[in-house]
């Protein structure tokens, strides 16, 4: 009697269990690509797919799988890869750009992608100042019109020979995506979440559609009606499903890629990768040996507040520059796997060639480690060394008001604070460190409430102009008001005039590099900012399920899995089996 009841119960349980099992995964792990995102914690905004809201997290698959760009800049081949566009023309004075769109591109709901969508997107940004990137579009573009279904004419406010590369070709991370007018036309773009799975939203042109979104992961399925196949432009990417998931902190993500739970990670320290590789040789970095990482376009640098004593004196700025051993800073910050930065440029070929041509200028400048030169300056300024601290005639020491991002950011920043403080003190200065969280840091930084700060310099990729333009006099704001760039308020009209001239020339123009050298010489003499270390990002891939990842030996594209350019990686990788 009793056992019969029990066996009935068991049968019921088994049936239920079967039902549970069936409704589990429907795409095999071998056909699924799992990307660990660049975020270490979960995202509260799991229903925001409007790329122009500040809260959106495009790196969680939107940028790589759904949105497609007009052009992609390939850091490795140094070419502009046309994608949704086929090319562009520009007027001789670089104020008018005509962009030709690709024929046959379709949105994921089947509607055609046309010039009207482009015009709509630009006008939407020009009329909604709260949208992400809107201010830049408004400042650059005077007007936009569709010449026909596949041709758009942009008229700029100021001549700019680099406009397409800077604004529409994924210079760093991403570019503004075009949105479908037929969906967005009657929406308020400043609050439209662009998320409704039942309606097939978000609608973009890419080969994947969103199938689920939660705070810790987003799942995308491949769609077979992708326009690229119909037009013969490209094949379907191999992964049938892509999952972009929060990876977690370093301690945990190492275990996840080691156990083949993920196929790619956005960041891992080089030494953790070494540990992972010793246990799972299928995990690879950009290089097979140190430093394993890929050079991020934004190196770390040290900036002076040139309105504050004593840093308003270029000599004093030089004295501080001389006491920083950049190799040691890089090695400490990256645990022996670092790379010092001679200047504020990322270590990319074109820029490094340019720096090499300036070797005499660098040798004559304060951009190197030379404590004796620093001491000489200090003595000439009337300071004397007492118990290892420089003091003026009244016995006052110099206290560096040092602003840093320090709150929970990660080991690189924390270690940089410590090693820089140590070097300042070794050099005879006292230090008062403010290591703040993002909000307080940003406010103090852009309002100029600091003496010396460590920051990251996003600017040039191929030619020196963009980084140099970050220090233009026009950007100088009074102390206490919000600046957008040039937080150090370095005001050099002569230099700025040169930067203006450079801005109107293409790097291929005759005399461009002579002018750039002239501007650099002024920069080096005045020392408004100094380079510290390259940001090396280890972006490991796992070859257990997927092969064909970009590496130094197979460098078809730069490897950042959270950038828009990762679309090219996803179109390239193949199953391992």
């Amino acid at each position: 009697m009793y056992s019969r009841k029990l066996s009935m119960l068991l049968i019921v349980l088994l049936v239920l269990f079967q039902a549970f099992l069936v409704s589990g995964q429907d795409v095999a792990r071998e056909e699924t690509l799992i990307i660990g995102s660049d975020l270490t914690s979960n995202v509260a905004a799991d229903d925001i797919f409007n790329p122009y809201l500040p809260a959106v997290q495009r790196s969680l698959g939107m940028a790589q799988l759904m949105e497609e760009m007009l052009f992609y800049t390939n850091y490795e081949t140094n070419e502009l890869m046309p994608w949704l566009a086929t090319g562009y023309d520009t007027s001789d004075d670089f104020t008018e750009y005509t962009i030709h769109l690709r024929d046959g591109v379709k949105w994921s709901d089947g509607e055609a992608f046309t010039a009207d969508d482009f015009v709509f997107t630009i006008n939407m940004l020009k009329t909604n100042p709260t949208l992400r990137g809107a201010a830049g579009i408004e400042r650059a573009i005077a007007s936009v019109e569709a010449l026909d279904d596949l041709t758009v004419k942009l008229t700029l406010n100021d001549p700019n020979p680099r406009y397409i590369q800077q604004s529409w070709a994924v210079r760093i991370s991403s570019s503004p995506p075009i949105v479908p007018e037929h969906i967005w036309a009657d929406k308020d773009p400043s609050s439209f979440p662009n998320f409704d799975l039942d309606k097939g939203w978000p609608v973009f042109t890419g080969p994947y559609v969103l199938t689920s979104s939660s705070q810790d992961q987003r799942i995308y399925n491949r769609r077979d009606d992708y326009w690229g196949v119909e037009t013969g432009f490209t094949d379907l990417p191999a992964p049938r499903r892509v999952i972009v998931a929060t990876a977690g902190v370093d301690e945990v993500v190492g275990a996840r890629i080691q156990n083949n739970e993920v196929d790619s990670l956005a960041a891992l320290s080089a030494n953790t990768l070494v540990t992972v590789q010793s246990r799972n040789p299928n995990v690879i970095g950009w290089t097979d040996e140190s430093p394993f990482g890929y050079t991020d376009p934004c190196p770390f640098y040290l900036e002076f507040n040139t309105t504050r004593e004593p840093w308003d004196d270029p000599k004093m700025r030089a004295a501080l520059s001389y006491i920083i051993d950049r190799d040691l800073v890089a090695n400490i910050a990256f645990e022996g796997q670092g790379m010092a930065a001679q200047f504020l440029f990322p270590a990319y070929t074109g820029l490094m060639d340019f720096l090499d041509s300036l070797s005499d200028e660098f040798a004559a400048s304060a951009y190197r480690y030379d404590p004796e030169a620093s001491a000489a300056i200090m003595e000439s300024k009337g300071y004397t060394l007492q118990d290892g601290v420089w003091r003026d005639g009244d016995g006052n020491s110099i206290v560096i008001d040092f602003l840093m991002l320090g709150f929970n950011i990660g080991p690189t920043w924390g270690r940089s604070i410590q090693i820089l403080s140590q070097q300042f003190e070794d050099g005879g200065f006292e230090v008062n460190v403010s290591d703040l969280d993002f909000g307080p840091y940003w406010e103090r930084a852009n309002q100029g409430m600091w003496g010396v700060r460590m920051a990251w310099s996003c600017g040039s990729i191929t030619d020196p102009h963009t980084t140099l333009s970050n220090f233009h006099s026009d950007l100088v704001m009074p102390i206490g008001e919000t600046a957008s760039r040039n937080f150090g308020r370095w005001d050099n009209p002569e230099y700025s005039a040169l930067v203006d001239q450079l801005g109107q020339m293409a790097p291929s123009d005759e005399g461009y590099f002579d002018l750039a050298r002239e501007a650099m010489t002024m920069f080096l003499a005045d020392v408004p900012a100094i380079g510290l270390q390259q940001q090396l990002r280890v972006n490991p891939f796992n070859t257990t399920y997927w092969v064909g990842w970009p590496t130094a030996d197979n460098n078809y594209v730069n490897p950042q899995s959270w950038w828009s350019t990762a679309a090219i990686i996803i179109h390239t990788i193949e199953p391992a089996g």
């Binding site: 099992l21 792990r29 201010a135 996840r256 909000g439």
Partner: protein, 335 residues
């Protein structure tokens, strides 16, 4: 017994004052930091390599949109109004997501984690504490539970790391973090349920191991006091069964202060669990609250802390109100 009306009124009044002041502190303190949520967001985006042209304009536009450019008083009034209505509007750094959605997304995880671990540790700790005294186990008994007591003195987060090292990295019995397997769907299936349980095991274990000892000690000393009281001698004299005495006289009387302590400890339990959530990258309230503070997302901070304050204060209030029924010996008019 006589209904202590003035006692109830006093308690309610104090409840309102407590919630109001605590909520105000939670309004003021996060705003004491310089900077604002949009600036923090711009800084983050730029650190990720995105270039935000003219960020000053974006910051100004959003300040206006969110009313952050209004006076602190206006913001305070609108906060209090929203608190009373239990509507906290939209997150600032995840606009236009409503604050309530963010809380509701994370709440099941935190509640699950806390409920299971508190129930286990409270029950185990309380029962063991009472039994040790009741069964007169004495010194050797203390020896049996000593490991639990010692673990109880070590913080949860250190235990979490040790457990992570032993059971996840070395033995590989449990996953190292998160609440779900990477890539698994979140549908309610048995397989997923098992996965969620496996992911919850280590965080729960660290909270239980760290807190059971405290309940044990509290219960033990209360039980000692109770066993010495006259009515127990009387009950024994009446010849009531051991089990009956143990349950009706010992447990019921000794557990009162335990329950009060549980209500008071609520706040710190939630606080301590935040670190455990961080260690295991568990998708609960803790990590959201921490990030909201990092982002200076005032509306989310307010929503979450108000909920927290309200639950702790309510727990204390309920315990205080239930006391007259639970323990009629206390003279309330005098309190």
């Amino acid at each position: 017994m006589r209904l202590p009306v003035s006692y109830i009124a006093k308690r309610f009044l104090s409840f309102v004052v407590v919630v109001w002041v605590a909520a105000s502190v939670n309004f003021i303190v996060p705003r004491m930091a310089p900077g604002d949520p949009i600036g923090a967001m711009v800084a983050r985006m730029e650190l990720q390599g995105e270039v935000i042209e003219d960020s000053a304009e974006l910051i100004a536009a959003y300040r206006e949109k969110f009313g952050l450019d209004g006076s602190l008083w206006d913001q305070y009034v609108s906060y209090l109004t929203s608190a009373v209505q239990f509507d906290f509007g939209h997150s600032l750094s995840y606009f236009p997501r409503p604050v309530s959605d963010i809380i509701l997304d994370a709440l099941p995880y935190t509640l699950g984690l806390l409920a299971v671990s508190i129930i286990i540790s409270f029950t185990v700790g309380t029962l063991l504490g009472a039994l040790i005294v009741w069964l007169k186990i004495g010194r050797s008994g203390i020896g049996l539970v000593a490991p639990l007591l010692l673990l109880g003195s070590i913080p949860q987060y250190l235990l979490a790391i040790i457990l992570l090292f032993v059971f996840s990295f070395a033995l590989r019995w449990f996953p190292s973090g998160g609440a779900h397997a990477l890539g698994a769907s979140h549908d309610f299936t048995l397989a997923n349920f098992i996965e969620v349980a496996r992911h919850g095991a280590l965080p729960i274990m660290s909270i239980v191991l760290a807190s059971a000892g405290g309940w044990l000690i509290g219960m033990r000393s209360m039980t000692i006091t109770v066993t010495r009281s006259d009515y127990l001698t009387l009950a024994k004299a009446k010849g009531l069964s051991q089990l009956r005495i143990f349950y009706h006289y010992v447990i019921r009387n000794a557990i009162l202060p335990q329950v009060t302590n549980l209500a008071i400890a609520m706040g710190s339990i939630v606080g301590g669990a935040i670190l455990v959530e961080v260690v295991f990258t568990y998708p609960g309230l803790g990590s959201h609250l921490l990030r909201a503070i990092n982002n200076q997302d005032f509306t989310v901070i307010q929503g979450m802390t108000y909920t927290l304050v309200l639950s702790v204060a309510s727990a204390v209030l309920i315990v205080d109100l239930l006391y007259p029924w639970l323990d009629p010996r206390i003279n309330y008019e005098d309190q």
